[in-house]
Amino acid sequence: MVHDDATVSRRVRALETELERRGIVDGGMLDDILDRLLAHSTPRQGARVIAHAWVDEAFRRRLLDDGNAAIAELGLSMSHGPAPQRLRVVENTERVHNVVVCTLCSCYPISLLGPSPSWYKSESYRSRVVRWPREVLAEFGLELSVKVEIRVWDASAETRYLVIPGRPVGTENATEDGLSALVTRAGMIGTAAV
């Protein structure tokens, strides 16, 4: 099925109009939900989390163990949307590379990364990265050694995934803010190294 933006916009507008006509939502309600969700949602939030995990080993372990509790220490939450989400953080190492997709739609940790990039929602990415991840990552410019095990995470339920990329070499003396500036959105989805 082809979903160009104009088709999707028309469909959303028609749905919204019908929901309002039936009194299920009022005009401001959807805007309020979106405003609340997006007010502080940018990839800089995710980058703060990653940089803190890089400099604080105990925090890194807590983050891998219970993502929601760990990000609360930084004043962040996965509960700004209509329903609370579980945050599962996975870590790239020299042996394992993680990459995230939602094959059914576009599930994504919006609170930590902001709205997802258009390629994340494309049928091409969603269908191909589960089947040929090594090739898809190479197309993104990430050539992984054949010794690296690839784990694809298909986020099709109420759990959202965040990838801790490997800390770049030569950053031993960098400040936490300096490290945070190095962390990219693609790095936290798993389609790039940092």
Binding site: R86, V130, R131, I150, R151, V152, D154, S156, A157, E158
Partner: protein, 92 residues
């Protein structure tokens, strides 16, 4: 209610092909994977969109070997699946 499956259990995704909404991706239906973690309990989306108000049920992260699903590939794919989508496959 406790979880029906434990981490380490082998499970098979049911072959059901529902007419309405479901979150069981087609590519893993009929395939066997291993429960690698439990995500908690959430309402079954198939029922939610149909307007049925059921209690929440368990959601599991189930890991599949690409080679088993597609006959090739050395990676794994971990899919989040509701209890209703699964049946036991220990020994498989």
């Amino acid at each position: 209610m406790s979880d029906r499956f434990d981490v380490g259990d082998r499970v098979r995704v049911r072959l059901d092909d529902p007419v309405g909404h479901t979150r069981a991706p087609r590519y893993v239906r009929g395939h066997v994977g291993e429960v690698v973690e439990r995500h908690g309990r959430y309402p079954l989306p198939d029922a939610v969109v149909a307007g049925e108000r059921l209690g929440p049920s368990s959601v599991y992260a189930v890991r599949f070997d690409a080679a088993q699903v597609w006959g090739e590939g050395e990676h794994t794919v971990t899919v989040n699946l509701w209890d209703e989508y699964l049946e036991p496959a220990n020994g498989a």
